[in-house]
Symmetry: C2
Subunit: 424 residues, 2 copies
Amino acid sequence: MNSFVLKGDICYSIDKDTLCTIENGYCVCVDTVSKGVFTTLPKEYSTLPLYDYSGKLIIPGLVDLHIHAPQFAFRGLNMDSELLSWLNENAFPEEAKFADLSYAKKAYTIFAEALKNSVTTRACIFATLHKEATLLLMELMEKSGLISFVGKVNMDRNSPDILIEESAEKSAKDTESWVLSAIGKFDNTFPIITPRFIPSCTDELMEKLGKLAKKHKLSAQSHLSENKDEIKWVAELCPDAKSYGDAYDKFGLFGKDTKTIMAHCVYSGDDEVEHMKENGVFIAHCPASNTNLTSGIAPVRAYLDKGLKVGIGSDVAGGHTESLFRAISDTIQVSKLYHRLVDNTAKPVTFSEAFFLSSKGGGEFFGKVGSFEDDYEFDAVVIDDSVLPHPQELSVKERLERSVYLNADLLGITAKFVRGKKII
Amino acid sequence: MNSFVLKGDICYSIDKDTLCTIENGYCVCVDTVSKGVFTTLPKEYSTLPLYDYSGKLIIPGLVDLHIHAPQFAFRGLNMDSELLSWLNENAFPEEAKFADLSYAKKAYTIFAEALKNSVTTRACIFATLHKEATLLLMELMEKSGLISFVGKVNMDRNSPDILIEESAEKSAKDTESWVLSAIGKFDNTFPIITPRFIPSCTDELMEKLGKLAKKHKLSAQSHLSENKDEIKWVAELCPDAKSYGDAYDKFGLFGKDTKTIMAHCVYSGDDEVEHMKENGVFIAHCPASNTNLTSGIAPVRAYLDKGLKVGIGSDVAGGHTESLFRAISDTIQVSKLYHRLVDNTAKPVTFSEAFFLSSKGGGEFFGKVGSFEDDYEFDAVVIDDSVLPHPQELSVKERLERSVYLNADLLGITAKFVRGKKII
């Protein structure tokens, strides 16, 4: 059941500069794992069941390194404000509603269904500080068939009364009890330590979270250097930290033993960048969010040149859409504006690079994920791009680029496989 | 037949700061003209046929001030290059194909059909230099039911052999013969003088085109100050002109007696801006194109503050999509990056302002167009936003903003009226 062949027009990245496309090719999944891509089907796989998607595009499932599930309800709403006021006016009041499990069920059902129907097969998700609602989200994500890390958010300071934990101790205790109920409960859904960001978490809480991550061998995710006001605030809150990133590192929540994703990194200084590289921190680049919240443009070209680990995040609802096709074109577009307006030595991100970031780049957080190369976990999405008629001949690569820019994913996807299991 | 009532959730701009929304309201069309919007249907209109779009959004048809029909085939393709190389490698070779009428028919049919199914009701369109293919495009646009200006493009220098007119004289002669076959032939489709841009047209040709515009009382459209290399080139080509814009004005193709649209205006200097204001030139702001071709960001805030005439252009295929919903959110997004990265005194464009630009702002080029106010020509589009489920209550304005950001238009529109005629 987890071994089969897909036939169609296949696209996948080997590295950031190498986007392979094979017209009328075969990709083979044996026991949930890719055996590679072939122009002619090798004899040894000829008895496997074959899904014939001739004329359609087959791509690896894409990876969303940063998305807020409770914010999905207000994506594309009230976008005329900046980060800190946007958090207070939009994000916090909406997240507070998730104390109510029946609201959470309604909202998270819509979220999980949308993600299931998107080009995303793997995601790193922020929930809220509510442990019951977070478990519920994990159940819904498990049901969706996607593979995800889900984090109960921690926040014990600088937060509104409607959305704050009463103490560091209570926050850590709730987190451990949630971790214990979540660990091992699901096949595809895993807990991840999720301090909202430094301004929301006391040192005491951060210390406890660092220990929890270590104790239960958990990964971590948070926000980093998104907005200049925020960075200034962190510097005031953590006078001893050498950088915003260092404030996480002090508590063991910045890579090294704790695999960590940091979203944004728009204004990371040289030290912080070097620190991320040393520690193997994953950067979740969130171009739509950084634009919508007037944060700026992250210097992705520099991160790529320096060999940092980078993936893409939709960052709903700072980002207004879960579509990673849109996130790919956003990545390219903002890099062009960065080149033109900020640093003309930073070459724009190419289509091949951005596609890599959305698949194999972010996929690395999950292991061997995001490609059809031999031995990669088999995630695939099939797109019917015949919905976009054209008068001329197009290559497979051109069809992929066009499908991405024109958001063919919004018109529905044809099929979806996650670790060898067909979920659509 | 051209008098009716629409019932639904109505949104329209009165001015850039005033976006009116009426839940469960009525807009009335009498003899192709709007009679205003009402919360209760006035008795005098109660006998008119009523289209019940309860629960759906009703907006004025949107206006695309700048789009290249022959480039539609390669929208979203080969986007990894800048303006001048992009023209040579992509635009010119594709446009050259329109010498072949059977190719033109195939391509333009796809274009007209897509525009018909979009939120656009009015458009200012560049064709190619081929007069037969341009007439064919006009026939297809007329059939679509939309209202448009269509221009046979002029180019007699600095163009590749496959796409150049043999002389100024021949270009002008072909243009006049095309104008004569097009004037008065259609109800909704009108010729417009369309020099590609200064680099493509000799002074001799520009002079003839200026005279043609005057003689036949035609409007004009072209490109202005899109890219720094282009501006430098124009300064070399036209040493006597005070600015790029002045190079058009010398030939009477820059507003005043000849109503003129200039696309882009990314790098217009103070003189040029003042010149546009004095002459009443319409600026077609094309944010996606200016991003995709790494041109930069036009200072739309300054244009609004100075009271210039501004509308929005999709600029397919520098812009990758014909969707004006996307162009609205692009307008907001790039203005935020302009504020953050270029000039922090230039406030970002608000949703209300961007919606105004896409409707009433550009609509002014067509007359009283782009609003449901009393006496406006009645163009309307109905959007079913129930395709975007949400757990919370939303106001009509929120539903509109969300539909725009999430490109609900790509999922299909429910109905469309152009100057009082139902075309979908």
